[in-house]
Symmetry: C2
């Protein structure tokens, strides 16, 4: 399996691991999402000043407003964070190269 394929598998496996907490592995409840964030994205959470970040993110991501996150809604978060990371990295690289 290539690096990219392993990464795609990891996204699915991580989502299902936390989603399975309540027996329904197709969606993350608020509690499951909180656990995932605290475990998998603790660095990101620690950098947030608002103690309500997880609740706010859950609301923002829950497009169909069913108080649960399905895989598509979850992936939107990972993608958004990754795009932000890549942009920051590129900005830093560009600054470093400036004469």
């Amino acid at each position: 399996m290539s690096e990219l394929e392993k990464c795609m598998e990891t996204l699915i496996v991580v989502f299902h691991r936390y989603a399975a907490g309540d027996g329904d592995k197709a969606t993350l409840t608020q509690k499951e999402f909180k656990k995932l964030m605290e475990t998998e994205l603790s660095g990101f959470l620690a950098a947030q000043k608002n103690p309500n970040t997880v609740n706010k993110m859950m609301k923002d991501l829950d497009q169909n407003n069913d108080k649960k996150l399905d895989f598509e809604e979850f992936v939107a978060l990972v993608v958004g964070l990754t795009i932000a990371c890549e942009a920051t990295e590129r900005l830093r690289d560009n600054k470093g190269l400036k004469k």
Copy 2:
């Protein structure tokens, strides 16, 4: 680093590795995209019947039509494929559980 953070890093590293081919590591040219697909998603490519799949995908993903793929355009592909994989997996699981 958590599994999810490693996965986010891999997405960025893999993209930059192929994008750097022509010196500009911010975008994938058609040639670089072809190399990435053939190396990182060879299983997916092998399953396609149309020999023009890579060209067609490049066109579909190139939202701003500049004949290059930036990181956001590339990530849309990975996300689309991962969501399709997850849905297929869930369908298979559900069928398996049906009495």
